[in-house]
């Protein structure tokens, strides 16, 4: 994994974020307190003259790491962000799919409806997963939050979709072009605060963060940003290998996304 020209990546993301604000009436962003969505908020501050001009939604199943909750509250305060905590209820038996899959989607649906958001910024990246690589930059969802992946709208050059009839909201993906190492590079260059769980402690670190029930740390000694970037430059292991839901069964990401998951 090699880093791309960070200045170019930033410009593209800034354009996308501004496009979302310009095109939609009521924009919100998902914030998991992970590195990607936190980097996205750093980008938003660059795009909008130092402020995050939209509310950020944390879908909270009550099982996130204590470090994540602390990080959430301190950064929300520091950057003056409007934080919406959307509680998700775990109904099915405990598993990766149940704690971070369908139930989180239900909570998101409720919150989107309550606030009437017509665009949702989601910090997914193409290199995370084969299915995410198939996404458009602006991706419409219907009333059931369904992703009609077999019939995606055209997206030529930087002409992105608007909200059409039958669209509940449009997912906006400003980080699609970033690779994992680019996110860390952005965080480093811009001194973006980051969840401490990513840094190695006692020989382990979290490379991708879900909740306490579905994420396991990986063996690592990377306890600084530079060491994390070095580690990634040489890795052959999938980023989400510590995440339960991606492994459970075939095409689970495709199914989850079709159902409205992020």
């Amino acid at each position: 994994m090699r880093e791309q020209d960070i200045a170019k990546l930033e410009e593209k993301s800034i354009y996308i974020l501004r496009e979302a604000k310009s095109k939609f009436r009521n924009v919100a962003a998902l914030w998991s307190m992970g590195k990607d969505s936190t980097a996205m908020l750093g980008l938003a501050r660059k795009a909008f003259l130092g402020k995050v001009p939209f509310p950020v939604i944390h879908i909270d199943n009550g099982l996130d790491f204590p470090e994540s909750y602390d990080f959430r509250d301190s950064l929300a305060k520091k950057w003056g962000m409007e934080l919406i905590v959307s509680k998700s209820e775990i109904k099915e038996e405990m598993s990766g799919f149940a704690c971070c899959g369908a139930n989180k989607t239900d909570a998101l649906k409720r919150t989107m409806k309550e606030y009437g958001f017509d665009a949702l910024i989601v910090s997914i990246r193409r290199d995370e997963h084969g299915i995410r690589a198939k996404e458009r930059t602006f991706s419409p969802r219907d009333r059931n939050f369904k992703w009609d992946y077999k019939n995606q709208p055209e997206e030529l050059w930087n002409n992105y979709s608007a909200k059409e009839k039958g669209t509940d909201h449009v997912r906006v993906h400003p980080l699609l072009d970033f690779n994992e190492v680019d996110v860390w590079n952005f965080i480093k260059v811009n001194k973006v605060p980051v969840n401490p769980l990513y840094f190695a402690k006692d020989g382990y670190r979290y490379r991708s963060l879900g909740c306490t029930h579905c994420t396991v740390p990986l063996k690592s000694d990377a306890d600084t940003l530079d060491k994390i970037m070095d580690e990634l430059r040489g890795t052959k292991v999938e980023e989400r290998s510590g995440r339960q839901q991606d492994k459970e069964r075939e095409y689970v990401m495709e199914k989850l996304r079709a159902l409205g998951y992020m």
Partner: protein
């Protein structure tokens, strides 16, 4: 590291996804997890490298690419991003969505019996040329099916070269005989085709990207207005500075209204700046009483694009249309209502031949048309300035083609 974006082109089953898959494996870019997953879904004991790209369940079940995807690899000092696109005719809008981001194209032409240079192969080249690709590498694939025969290669090469001439394709072209499935001539020179004295595909790509120049002669300042927002009592104009530079104190024009203004403040990535250069997203405060609007172009006071109510275009139609229908073009993210005033000629993207225009334009055809805009808008010839000379055509909200200003 600078990224070079390569789009695949070509008819279905000619090996686009397979070629990318093989290159990802050969350069170590595909993770073991992805390779194992692709192995698991391969049928009949034959491993299909294309499944690294085709990740939808439906794509693997139907053995076809449904929608565009991207994958990267590093080779020597190059970061290449490949855009895979579907070959099927009915998926052409997905192909366009992918190919519109490519700088260079790899055209796949299969040597297998009954495959060869197909009408759809030609349409892809025609479209990619309009989308603005800067060069073409023709990968003549499945050479193993013709026993790596030089004569067979030469015949197809000749056909393609004739076609490119017929449609007036002027960008650099090279031809590489490959077998995507067996990785012949992709990364290393193949010992099965000693008669081929050129470079393997990836070296051709490296050469193309090294010699690539920016598209068309660049003009001066062109900033495309994206939004106008109120920020702490100031009216901020958000724009993408597409070319040229902008400085505080500079006189500018706002097109299409031709209002003159002075640049009072510039913000770059949230911070105040004295100037900004091409490729940046800026926020500016200008002195003009006339309000800027989304879709306006900020340009130099004495060097500006032509704001016009009429232009000539070559447009490729993916839906049949009637000249008299209601149309809209999307240009620089601005939507402008238009009328098709005249259909001067119909052009076949498959042969390059033209015939007299008619009120009905069939799907899959191109046409030279006279476009009348509902309101004045600044455009450039596509050959002079790609971004201001290309558009997507809509009829009653439905995407029906792409066009360039000629």
């Amino acid at each position: 590291m600078d990224k070079h974006i390569i789009t695949m082109l070509g008819e279905k089953d000619h090996g686009k996804s397979t070629l990318i898959g093989s290159m990802l494996i050969a350069t170590g870019a595909a993770t073991e997890h992805r390779i194992n997953e692709a192995k698991k879904y391969s049928k009949g004991g034959r491993f299909e490298p294309g499944y690294i790209l085709d990740s939808f369940e439906e794509e693997r079940a139907q053995e076809m690419t449904i929608d565009t995807t991207r994958a990267e690899l590093v080779y020597k000092d190059n970061l290449f991003e490949f855009i895979d696109v579907p070959g099927h005719l009915e998926l052409i809008k997905n192909m366009m969505s992918g190919a519109s981001h490519g700088e260079i194209a790899i055209l796949m032409v299969s040597m297998k019996k009954d495959e060869g240079l197909q009408p759809q192969t030609k349409r892809h080249v025609y479209i990619a040329n309009m989308l603005g690709i800067k060069g073409l590498i023709v990968a003549i694939n499945k050479m193993d099916m013709v026993s790596y025969d030089k004569k067979a290669f030469d015949r197809v090469k000749e056909d393609i070269s004739k076609y490119l001439k017929a449609i007036g394709f002027t960008k650099p072209v090279s031809y590489v005989p490959v077998s995507a499935y067996d990785s012949q001539n992709l990364i290393k020179s193949s010992d099965k085709m000693k008669w081929y004295t050129g470079m393997p595909l990836i070296e051709e790509l490296a050469l193309f990207t090294a010699s690539r120049k920016a598209g068309g002669p660049r003009k001066g300042l062109r900033a495309i207005v994206q939004d106008v927002v109120d920020h702490e009592g100031k009216e901020m104009v958000f724009c993408l500075l597409n070319s040229g530079t902008i400085k505080v104190g500079q006189s500018i024009k706002l097109e299409p209204i031709a209002a003159t203004a002075k640049v009072q403040e510039i913000y770059l990535k949230g911070k105040k700046a004295d100037s900004a250069g091409a490729g940046t997203n800026i926020a500016i405060v200008v002195s003009s009483k006339a309000r800027a609007k989304r879709g306006f172009i900020v340009c130099g006071a004495d060097e500006r694009p032509l704001s016009t109510k009429e232009f000539e275009s070559i447009t490729f139609f993916i839906k049949p249309v009637n000249k008299g229908s209601e149309f809209e073009i999307k240009i620089n993210n601005n939507a402008v209502p238009i009328k098709i005033e005249q259909v001067a000629e119909l052009i076949s993207p498959v042969t390059g031949a033209s015939k007299p225009g008619s009120a009905k334009i069939p799907s899959g055809s191109a046409a030279r048309i006279r476009v009348k805009l509902g309101e004045s808008y600044p455009v450039e010839r596509f050959s002079d300035y790609n971004e201001l000379g290309r558009f997507a055509l809509y009829s009653k909200g439905k995407f029906c083609g792409i066009g360039i200003v000629v």
